[in-house]
Amino acid sequence: MSEFARQVETLRPQLLRYARTQLRNDAWAEDAVSEVLLVALEKPQAFAGQSQLKTWLIGILKHKVVDQLRRHSRECTILSDDDETDVDELLFKADGHWREAPQEWGSPEQSLNQRQFFEVLELCMEHLPATQGRVFMMREWLELSTDEICKELAITATNLWVLLHRARLRLRDCLQQGWFSGRPVT
């Protein structure tokens, strides 16, 4: 095996993890990553070395992951009970006031300079209900516009807004529990 192929293969577990977080399905994730590795091994000359190998592969992965999402759009948008839970009901009283006031999170630098914070953040993203997690990652990792997400998944804007809203509230709650109040996320 060439040195290049070896380097590519070393990055496979990391690419798989990224693909799984986005797709929430092991078989689709494996397919997406295999397609990336095929591109890399068949056209190594496309890697001009101007960026890190990992950055280049992730760029390709993002396209392959969108292909999978599009291909499986119907299954990708099935809502679990967790996806359906109205998080607003848990946070707000009927009159629109907070049940429990948000707490002070302190200065951003306190948290954002610590690698551990990002580990908790990733765990919290992995803990989102599957469909919420997919659309949230499409927005935040794939950086697709809301119009693009609606198109790829064939869902309405209203459905997307609800999913993103719930995902962000859940993520906030998970960070509160797992980081800001010091209880570990498992």
């Binding site: 960026s51 990992k54 950055t55 629109g96 006031h97 954002l112 935040e140 990792w141 809301t146 962000r168």
Partner: protein
Amino acid sequence: MELKRSCREVTRLVLESEDRELTATERLALQMHWGICATCRKFRDQAQLMRDAMARWRRYRDDDSGPAA
């Protein structure tokens, strides 16, 4: 348009501003609510921290320029 918004509505607007441009009236309603509601100011700051965190996470994940272990 009515400018008075509940905490629940303000929260929805703050989160929607991650994904779309708010109208001037919506932004004004937020400013007015924050002027009188310390609780929603805290939520606003949390949302800002999350936005910064996601931006940094993207860089950290895609090219390893995150905080050192």
